[in-house]
Assembly symmetry: C2
Homo-oligomer: 187 residues x 2
Amino acid sequence: MSHAVAEIIPPPAAPDAGPTSFHPVERQVYRDGMARLAAAVNIITSTGEDGWCGFTASAVSSVTDSPPTLLVCVNRTVQAHKAISTSGVLCVNTVAGPQEGLAMTFAGAGGNKDMKQRFAGGSWTELVTGAPVLAGSIVSFDCRVTNVSTIGTHDVFFCEVLAVCGGEGATGGEALVYFDRKFHAVS
Amino acid sequence: MSHAVAEIIPPPAAPDAGPTSFHPVERQVYRDGMARLAAAVNIITSTGEDGWCGFTASAVSSVTDSPPTLLVCVNRTVQAHKAISTSGVLCVNTVAGPQEGLAMTFAGAGGNKDMKQRFAGGSWTELVTGAPVLAGSIVSFDCRVTNVSTIGTHDVFFCEVLAVCGGEGATGGEALVYFDRKFHAVS
């Protein structure tokens, strides 16, 4: 089939080809919605020029097992952001029920930003990267950052999992879940 | 200070400058570890050439409230992947405790891949994008895809939230959480 004028073929729809005439929701509406998305509580640790650092986060997700990859969303204003960016390593420590107090400490409860004080509340080891691994966690993932995507206020760190502590063969224990702005123990 | 030979200054550490002499964990070790990371259960829906489609997923995370953005990790072999890529819209329906059966259906329990049959098990509405919104969900986020990152077998869809149903002012109800390869109701 031949035409003097080329057929007009619409370009394949781009991934961002969704409705553009709508506006995003207000921040508070988004936050109220997210309070309803239950999530595990994690202490994300890293090691930087000033030593160990860490903070509490729920924005962690599995990505793929080929290659074994998870992601962590980190506000760029968080103290540990620089250490993670510089060292390229982090450990996701998924918090157990009895570690709620420690999770609060690493969330900055009482305005506590002193890292030595934060770490004093737990027992820590290391696996392969040197990022602190929390003893008694439900599971810990020792990781190397392989990619970063910047979205608004946050960086999304894609991380290859180099070692897992507490996963293989482990069951039971109480996981700590955040839902409706409260902690819940799940077992 | 001047030298005939330039000082050797190490380049700034790249985000992927972590240990390279280590290897990722085996797939099964990763999967066993991830079974210990509790997560909300969600039915991700979209609308494509063949009508509504959906699947159950736990790999959903908040990214930032500025602009209101979440992410969903989707295996590229999943039926709904094409619809999401083409339409650029999806809805994250966070499942309530009593909707465990529906979550199993959308997870393909019994090999059920027929979308009409899947959707027949629930009540659905629409908000702004046309992606199906599950009545009685804990919360639903109607979204437009704004970015995609490809990591191994999966695409990570970054989505701007255009409407929320069930968030504002809502509390209580039972959230459904997946932990230790079992469903748990959290309230």
